[in-house]
């Protein structure tokens, strides 16, 4: 990993992340968290900050297809990896079936947990197209929602799975 040292002796690292299919190269400090990289370097603000300790799942992104909390992953550690954020889920303005199902089943209220929920659900259905309700609940248990009681979110994921 290439290192650039500035006049104050601060080191910066050259990283290339593949985000939603596009390659982004930036020079960053090692303490740049992935969530900060996405929001501030790439302006992908669909990834939310909720607790910054990996407790709430608002900052969930997929790293090589697996949901991770981008608030506890260093951007330098994501160098060379494929990241999917909520902005990468719909393709050419066409919603993913999970997103449509969230809308149809009233699974959205304030919307702050929604990006993370959709990504956790997306990862689940990619790996397990026909989950049980318990498997859905386990997959989203790291995504806190303060509005919905998860009732319609669980329903939306199950409906999307049924149609696959």
């Amino acid at each position: 990993m290439q290192v650039v040292v500035d006049n104050n002796g601060i080191k910066r690292y050259l990283v290339t992340l593949n985000i939603n299919g596009d390659s982004y190269t930036r020079v960053i400090k090692a303490n740049t968290l992935l969530v900060k990289f996405l929001r501030e370097e790439i302006d992908l603000t669909g990834t939310k900050k909720g607790c910054e300790l990996g407790d709430c799942g608002s900052c969930t992104v997929l790293m090589d297809g697996k949901p991770v909390n981008s608030c506890i992953v260093l951007a330098v550690e994501a160098d060379g990896h494929e990241i999917t954020t909520i902005e990468g889920v719909a393709q050419n303005n066409k919603l993913d079936r999970i997103q449509e199902s969230f809308i149809e089943n009233a699974a959205i209220q304030c919307g702050y947990c929604t990006p993370g929920m959709v990504l956790s659900a997306k990862a689940l259905l990619t790996q397990n197209p026909h989950p049980t309700e318990q498997e859905v609940r386990t997959a989203i248990a790291g995504n806190l929602c303060r509005c919905t009681g998860y009732v319609n979110i669980v329903k939306a994921v199950l409906v999307a799975a049924d149609e696959q």
């Binding site: 603000t45 902005e87 009233a106 209220q109 319609n152």
Partner: protein, 760 residues
């Protein structure tokens, strides 16, 4: 009747769903302006201390720091959400009153610099003795937190209606129970953020706030600005639940730092800061005494409460009044005494959380009623049915309750939950319980004294008539107000929801409204929107009458089509009529305004608890308890709500699910903890445990039909009322399961374990 409606009574998709599901929705912290600085507050490390001196010089020298402000740089005028007790300064002047109190603020070029600068501010404190318990605080010799609250008593309420002594003399059974509540927090997923920038003498403030109006009002009051020079708006808000009502240090700080630096400033709270600043639910300590007849008819009630208010008042005086005011709504009794002491302590200030002052008193009262029913040998649900308020009655304080379906809600809940087969018949360790609740559909009076309307709405039809824009000050915080208000506008106009746009909660661009609190927007904002829509509708019909050569009484307009009532084949589209109106008269605009009629009684504090309409709800929950560990699982829940006419059933049921969820969290898991020095111990989402998807049971949400005469289309509230029965309901289910009462919230596994152990 609902058959005639084309736009309301339907589960249309949310108007903001696409933006939210794709990540496009910009919440305050997501917004950037060029040349923007970022800032944070410096919070007190001491629970009670005198500020001797503040030295900001080292922080100011740090490269990248653009401004550091303390009380010396800001107006010293006190504020508080409720004007009855203005006891808070933008930054502490003489002393700090809790760990987390606001001392200074920094603006710098980036976050890292801000955090470094905060550490360089040197504050010299003289630590004072502190008090963290409401009862200790009232003792003689306790540290005095405010000069103006002798004995640390911030609010004292004594209300007395009817003749309670006589009622208790006449009663077959009089019983007193004591229940304690805990401090909880709203924990909206979005932490609060504010951005401010100045253009000349005018400041624009983006804030995660539940009421743009009150923030505009308080910014202008405290900073001595004309209201017209303060523009407050919000973009998307990630939940509020009462936590985003009060003007915060971020709002004042960002405005002043932006002025000082001449640059836009964004300030934000970390999650822990939310616990310090969010004005969570007051812990209440509740003695409740009730006298009943042999049949279980309530003759009188004495509510004797103490609440821990934390360091400041905020809206807390209203919380104190609400705690007693709403106890009389559900059940009809003629003798009532309410005593309340709100006490200040050296902990973060408390305020309004979903249901305001009422959920804990409801928990106490609903648990207490079950105890009484058990003593009398009556089914607790049946006992509540004989006491349930009837429509068109007055409470003992003089609150008028028109539509009211509590009895029907209980009957339906009894049926769908299988109550009769389960109550008292489930195996040991398994139990069923019920609780009732409800709420105001908007407060009858604004938070500060004013003769302004509570809600105003304007609808502008675009030039070609193909869409219409609703301008409202109502605040969408996730509950769905933008969607239901557009449905209401379209219905009143004779238009289509799909063609509605909305500009909401912007004090410059939208219309005046008091905002999202007290479950007010569906009724009150809705009333203004309906009137504005009807204004448009009248103009459309008048214009169509001219074009079509008929009288306007012969015409109607629905779903975007104007037609002759006697011959619906003869039509004009709304759009072409609107265009004609525009050509002839200029912009087609409809206006509406709503102010509640004079409500309530004449006693002191009679403003709190008034409302044009009251919701009612019954919840039943079934629990399973592991009697060796105390672990409690809620396995199923039922809610039946009387919320008047329903504009959007899917959104409504979503409110019920979320309300039950929050109530369940408060009943079992959630509690803010402090150590013996007043230091917050669980200001994060790992140890302040919101229930996860694995903890949440299925919830059946059903309705009873009522139509309130005082509301547009007969609507009433749902969002807060549905959280008020939950704690009592779960309390009663736990008792049914294990035969022993846990007398304080939350019912942690350890408390249940201990209760079972002590019973043995």
């Amino acid at each position: 009747m609902s058959d005639n409606y084309t736009q309301i009574g339907k589960s249309v998709p949310r108007i903001d769903a696409f933006e939210k599901v794709t990540g496009q929705a910009k919440y305050t912290a997501d917004i950037k302006f060029s040349n923007m600085l970022v800032g944070k507050l410096l919070l007190s490390p001491h629970a009670h201390a005198r500020i001797i001196s503040i030295d900001t010089s080292e922080a100011e020298k740090l490269p990248g720091v653009k401004a550091v402000i303390t009380h010396k740089d800001v107006p010293s005028k006190r504020y508080g959400l409720s004007p009855a007790r203005w006891d808070e300064n933008i930054f502490c002047i003489d002393k700090v009153r809790y760990i987390g109190d606001k001392v200074a603020a920094v603006a710098a070029i980036d976050e890292e610099t801000v955090y470094k600068a905060l550490k360089l501010i040197k504050v010299d404190y003289e630590v004072l003795p502190a008090v963290f318990d409401a009862f200790e605080a009232m003792k003689e010799g306790a540290p005095q937190i405010f000069e103006e609250y002798p004995g640390n008593i911030n609010t004292e309420i004594h209300q007395n209606f009817g003749d309670l002594d006589q009622a208790f003399k006449d009663a077959y059974y009089v019983r007193t129970d004591r229940y304690d509540g805990q401090r909880t927090y709203q924990c909206p997923l979005e932490p609060h953020a504010t951005i401010a920038y100045w253009e000349g003498s005018k400041v624009t403030v983006y804030s995660s706030i539940q009421s743009v109006h009150y923030l505009q009002y308080y910014l202008s009051q405290v900073l001595d600005l004309k209201m017209g020079d303060v523009r407050v708006l919000k973009t998307y808000i990630g939940g509020g639940f009462g936590g985003k009502m009060d003007p915060s240090g971020l709002d004042f700080g960002a405005v002043i730092l932006a002025k000082k630096t001449g640059r836009p400033v964004k300030m934000w709270f970390d999650r822990e800061d939310m616990f310090f600043n969010n004005r969570g639910r007051h812990p209440q300590f509740m003695n409740i005494t009730t006298g009943v007849t042999k049949e279980g008819k309530i003759l009188g009630v004495h509510a004797d409460f103490v609440m821990d208010g934390g360091a400041y008042t905020g809206l807390g005086i209203a919380s104190a009044y609400y705690a007693g005011a709403l106890l009389t709504i559900l059940y009809d009794f003629e003798n009532y005494k309410f005593d309340m002491l709100r006490v200040v302590t050296n902990l973060p200030g408390c305020g309004a959380q979903r249901g305001h002052g009422q959920p804990q008193p409801r928990y106490a009262f609903e648990s207490h009623l079950d105890n009484i029913a058990e003593h009398l040998g009556i089914d607790p649900l049946e006992m509540r049915i004989i006491n349930a308020r009837k429509p068109g009655t007055l409470t003992v304080q003089g609150f008028r309750v028109d539509s009211y379906g509590l009895k029907e809600a209980m009957e339906k809940a009894r049926e769908i939950s299988g109550w009769r087969d389960k109550k008292g018949k489930l195996p040991q360790g398994r139990g069923i319980g019920m609780g009732n609740g409800g709420f105001v559909s908007g407060a009858g009076y604004a938070i500060y004294r004013t003769d302004l309307p509570h809600s105003v709405a304007t609808i502008k039809v675009t030039d070609d008539g193909t869409s219409a824009i609703l301008y409202t000050g109502a605040v969408e915080i996730g509950q769905g107000s933008d969607t239901v208000l557009c449905q209401m506008a379209a219905e009143a106009m004779g238009y289509r929801y799909e063609d509605m746009k909305i500009v909401a909660a912007d004090t410059d661009l939208a219309a005046h409204d008091l905002g999202a609190y007290a479950s007010r927007q569906t009724l009150m904002s809705g009333a203004a929107v309906k009137q504005a829509g009807e204004d448009v509708n009248k103009k459309i019909l008048d214009t169509a009458a001219e074009i079509m050569g008929v009288s306007n009484e012969e015409l109607d307009c629905r779903d975007g089509i104007v037609f002759v009532k006697s011959n619906p084949e003869i039509t004009k589209t709304f759009a072409e009529v609107a265009r004609t109106y525009f050509v002839k008269n200029g912009q087609l605009i409809g206006r509406g305004s709503y102010k509640p009629p004079k409500l309530g009684g004449v006693h002191k504090g009679s403003a709190v608890g008034t409302s044009p309409a009251y919701s009612a709800a019954t919840q039943v929950a079934e629990v399973v308890i592991d009697e060796e560990t105390g672990e409690i699982e809620v396995i199923e829940a039922w809610d039946v709500h009387d919320c008047g006419y329903v504009i959007n059933p899917a959104l409504l049921h979503g409110q019920v699910h979320g309300a039950f969820y929050m109530g369940m969290g408060e009943a079992i898991w959630e509690e803010v903890l402090f150590d013996k020095n007043g230091k917050l111990m669980n200001g994060n989402l790992a140890e302040y445990r919101l229930p996860t998807a694995l903890d949440m049971p299925p919830v059946a949400s059903e309705l009873v039909d009522t139509v309130d005469p005082n509301a547009p289309w007969g609507v009433k509230e749902v969002g807060e009322g549905a959280t008020t029965p939950t704690m009592g309901c779960i309390s009663n289910a736990v008792y049914d399961a294990i035969g022993v009462r846990v007398k304080s919230l939350p019912f942690t596994y350890e408390k249940i374990w201990r209760a079972i152990k002590e019973k043995k």
